[in-house]
Amino acid sequence: MSAFTLDELKTMLQEAAGVDESVDLNGAVLDTPFSGLGYDSLAMLELATRIQNQLGVPIPDDHIEFMTTPRAVLEYIDSHLPMGA
């Protein structure tokens, strides 16, 4: 089980970048590409900034392009959460 849940990620996304009216984040979105959820490159950068600042998980510049779906982000966070977090 991930220490950082999909629901928490959705909340973070909503705060970071809002939600497009045509998108239902409560649906099955785990494997939906972020672009399909209405998020652009700036939204992903904002999300990465929050993950780094709020969770203490460093994200190298060249990794952001691999954060393509909520699942990819959760797996990355899960494997990089600082000890004890």
């Binding site: 970048a17 809002g18 939600v19 497009d20 009216e21 209405g38 904002e46 900034t49 780094q52 600042n53």
Partner: protein, 418 residues
Amino acid sequence: MSESRERQSTDGGRARAVFTGIGVVAPNGKGTEDWWAATLAGKSGIDTVRSFDARSYPSQLAGEIKGFDPGKRLSARIVVETSRMSHFALAATRMALDDATVDLSQIPEYELGVITANASGGAEFGQRELQKLWRGGPKDVSPYMSIAWFYAATTGQISIGHGMRGPCGVMVSEQAGGLDALGQARRVVRDGTRLVVTGGSDSSLSPAGFVSQLPTANLTTVNDPARAYLPFDTDASGFVPGEGGAILVLENADTARERGVDRPYGELAGYAATFDPRPGSGRPPTLTRCARAALADARMRPEDIDVVFADGHGTAEKDRQESRTLAELFGPRAVPVTVPKTTTGRLYAGAGALDTAGALLALRDQVVPPTIHVKNPVAAYELDLVIDQPRETVLRTAMVIARGHGGFNAVAIVRLAD
């Protein structure tokens, strides 16, 4: 391109430009008709600052837009990446395009332009990110800062939001900018653009933005909302800052008619801009020359003007200058003069656009909106100031004056379209 288009109504061979849509977000009304009704009723939006604690500052009033929820009017995705100044303009753009009843998909994308004015950027957004930077370091600064606070943010977002890919631009000349944007919008219409979203908005009402204005000594320190901003009054003590503005749709008169616009609000018949000499230079201010140039541009004489929407700075020196210009042009008490911004405070880049919206609605309804709170107009100014009550009269043309800090003057003339 423009060469191929047939032109019936031209002005010396140049395309005429008419206003076909209005959108307003102002301290005394969100939405054009709400604002217009409030303006005619003399309802003020000036009050003690609520969005932050101004009690330690010598000036404590502002024309704030209260109860404006950008999430109700704009996509949540857009709200997070834009500042308050853009929220107002983007909401007003939707209103203006709805009002113009235009289907933008029917117009070639490169013949749709966006020209807005802005004076001070996204002050609140900027202050928040500056605070993050200096408290936490560069890693705390939001990626959105790079697109939210700068002066061109609004024009860019309007262009993107509505697929408008023709000439886009941004005018910055402080309070004169709202009219300079209209002037530039008319230029691009003359160059072949069919429809331009234009106007201006500002929101400098964060603590840092507000405090930045104090050193000019132009803000009144009278903190009674009914006695604070009194242009042309013997008790004039400065002005009250406000936020918001107006967005207007300006179109080529022929293509507007072709798409079925029977009665545009009016034509942008004249426009001119000048700059005042440096204080202490001994040279006279240039507002009179600016107004004359706008009249010449419109091929009108002073007696053709039916009402003047004055700049109404609210400081004795600027009021004197403006009243002298009006007296020189029109003679004593020869034309109704009004300052509806007494209900909103000065909106900077939003002001020229909002006053033009007011002028167009005055032409529509044949009524001059009032100047409020002024009790003792300076007799020597010899102005026919429309005070407290709207005045019904026959109106075909209106002159709008906007003056920007540092010396910017702009004058626009609108008239009922033929």
